[in-house]
Subunit: 153 residues, 2 copies
């Protein structure tokens, strides 16, 4: 990605977040510039640019630095291809770019999240050699004040 | 946590990583000091300190900054209590500290990973009001060179 990609990248990010049913989209171009091009960038992206300046797909990634191995964990944040440009193996190529990036930066693998009901995405990811994490499951706890006061007793 | 906790925190981190069957533990005290007390720390921790200077438990956390909401995601990295000090609700209190921390820093919830076969941990987490993530599942792909060249075709 480069700085001139930010308006289009923002459009694709908005599209995937809407598709995934998430609320409170607050990213904007200046936040993307600040977070993506600082000394310690918070994210990076590979983009599919079919015509001049118009992006049709993206693979956005970030790293989690604090690991017991001292080797950061590589996360794919969003893979997205505009619906009208699907069926051209762009998603597959973006995943290939991610795998090359992972390999070049010393990661044996990379991770991402898929909605449980998104069977189309799961089928795509399986077809390119990915699997659901066989070892770890994510858990969540809310910060309800009642629960908290009970926990602290 | 404070800087003098690092030797004990390192011992507890080594203990949980060994318990979880993970390899390549490379953290050391100087890395903990560098990563935990910089201008933008990579992690924080709540500790259970029963006797002077000897820690018996910890809740280690970090944040993922790049989110579409511009609100970081709070992750619990490790919850651990020394086996000889279990049964005293220290784990519950550390989770309470995490929930208070989450609430005070503007998070509605926080996340962590549990091994699929660790039913004791799952039972504990359920007992304090946590659940397995109902929406998202983590996926993984390796960076096998053969797969990568196929993907890029």
């Amino acid at each position: 990605m480069n700085e001139s990609d930010m308006p289009e990248l923002l459009r694709l990010m908005h599209a995937i977040v809407s598709f995934e049913g998430c609320q409170n989209f607050r990213l904007n171009e200046s936040e993307l510039l600040r977070r993506g091009f600082s000394k310690r960038p918070e994210f990076g992206a590979y983009v599919a640019d079919l015509s001049r300046g118009t992006l049709v797909g993206m693979a956005v990634h970030y790293e989690i630095p604090f690991m017991h191995t001292l080797q950061p964990l590589l996360m794919l944040k969003w893979l997205y291809v505009d619906p009208q440009h699907r069926g051209r193996r762009l998603g597959q190529k973006l995943m290939g770019q991610m795998a090359l990036h992972a390999h070049a930066t010393g990661h044996d693998c990379f991770y991402w999240f898929v909605r449980r009901e998104n069977v189309l995405a799961q089928s795509f990811y399986r077809s390119i050699g990915a699997t659901e994490d066989p070892t770890w499951r994510r858990w969540v706890m809310g910060t309800n004040p009642g629960t908290m006061s009970w926990l602290m007793q």
